[in-house]
Symmetry: none
Subunit: 222 residues, 2 copies
DNA sequence: GGGTTCCTCCCCCGTGCGGGGGAGGGGGTT
DNA sequence: AACCCCCTCCCCCGCACGGGGGAGGAACCC
């Protein structure tokens, strides 16, 4: 028997999910919450196997609730419920410790499959977002990264050297010392970089470098 | 009916998987391959819904096979089979386009659940590796992101507003117009941001904002 | 009431940034 | 040979940036 807690501020959604889950004899909804705070309290009281968590909720939103749930009830699986188009939260939610993602627009069978998977400790991503999420997670931000890489590809090698250091937050003088150049030369390179990348200032160039994966984050501090 | 292709160089594994899948009336093993090359040829010939792919195989290993499968048979779901301890391949396999991961030491029900999930287009990660993989994937930048988030957390709300625009590459004057402020006020905020974040210039602040997920990439161009 | 923090705005001032243009040498291609 | 691109360095110049310090009003807490 899989015990489920259902947290969503929209009662219609709760009713729908409850109806779907009622059809499965192995799944039992033990409690329902209307906001994040309540979801945490009821989780501690009922100790469900899986918490279905809406991302947007009053008082304490789903994203913040995950972190607290992972601390206070580490054995409980967290499955996020989301509306199509809220992709930007997915990576963060997974980072906070969510085990899966379901689209509210998805097939009822996905809901059951997702709950089963999470109850066993597995991770489950809803079909329509699975590929996007994986490429985003593994790629760093693949869609943007691709564009950034293309732009950076037609920089000269030396310009890329300079761009890396720009991306680390170094001044032209610091870059000059690092590359054994005169500051004027660095300025010339930076100007060339800006025009080639279509960036208006070094901050935008730095962001592009960062998106393309040129920046070694460990070096950002030095 | 879910059509499955089974690719593994060890016949014992194939026999075991076949036995498990035989118990499920909805799943049919349409072909078996002993190496990666064969797996690709048979996939093109039989067009299965899901390919179960061992990571280590002769001729063409599983990792290389994924990439080719994604190109030649994009509609086919790829589910990796792995022995415990091969974690380092997981991230790369997912990056290549695999939809899931199963441990050979796992419960038979995981195998069935994973195949069903992947057949529907969802992603499935085996229980014992799910958490590690997610933390590793998000962790690539999560470790830094966590630090960046903490630093940014103790900015005032208004300072975060400014930082977002700094991260988009806007000048102080542009930020002032956007926020209906005088440029001097923006400069005061930026100065405060730099000292609080320990950044030496706005580029480093922008990188921190970017790492913390504050920057909306769509806005970077304006 | 006094205290704090935040937000807003003001001053001055030094310097780093970014655009303009030019110039020389080296390494390619045609 | 002539050509083009890359890398290096030089000049000037205007402006944006970043640090310093101060100040008033609003909101909060003790």
């Amino acid at each position: 028997m899989i015990r489920v807690l259902l947290a969503d501020d929209e009662t219609m959604i709760r009713a729908g999910v409850r109806a779907i889950l009622a059809a499965d004899p192995e799944i039992e909804v033990v409690a329902e919450a209307g906001d994040g705070r309540e979801a945490i309290d009821l989780t501690l009281a009922h100790r469900p196997d899986v918490v279905l968590l809406d991302i947007r909720m009053p008082r304490l939103d789903g994203l913040a609730a995950i972190a607290e749930l992972r601390r206070t009830a580490p054995g409980t699986g967290v499955l996020m419920l989301t509306t199509f188009g809220e992709d930007e939260y997915i990576a963060r939610a997974l980072g906070e410790g969510a085990s899966g993602f379901l689209l509210k627009t998805g097939d009822p069978r996905e809901l059951l499959a997702g709950i089963r998977a999470v109850a066993e400790g597995a991770a489950y991503l809803s079909p329509k977002v699975a590929h996007r999420v994986i490429t985003e997670l593994t790629g760093g931000r693949m869609s943007r990264t691709a564009a950034a890489r293309e732009q950076i590809a037609d920089l000269t090698p030396r310009e890329r050297d300079v761009l890396v250091l720009v991306g680390a937050g170094l001044s032209n003088a610091q870059i000059a010392r690092r590359l054994h150049l005169v500051e004027g030369t660095v300025k010339a390179h930076v100007s060339a970089i800006l025009t080639r990348l279509g960036a208006r200032n070094r901050v935008q160039a730095a962001i592009l470098a960062y998106e393309a994966g040129l920046v070694d984050p460990a070096a950002s501090g030095s």
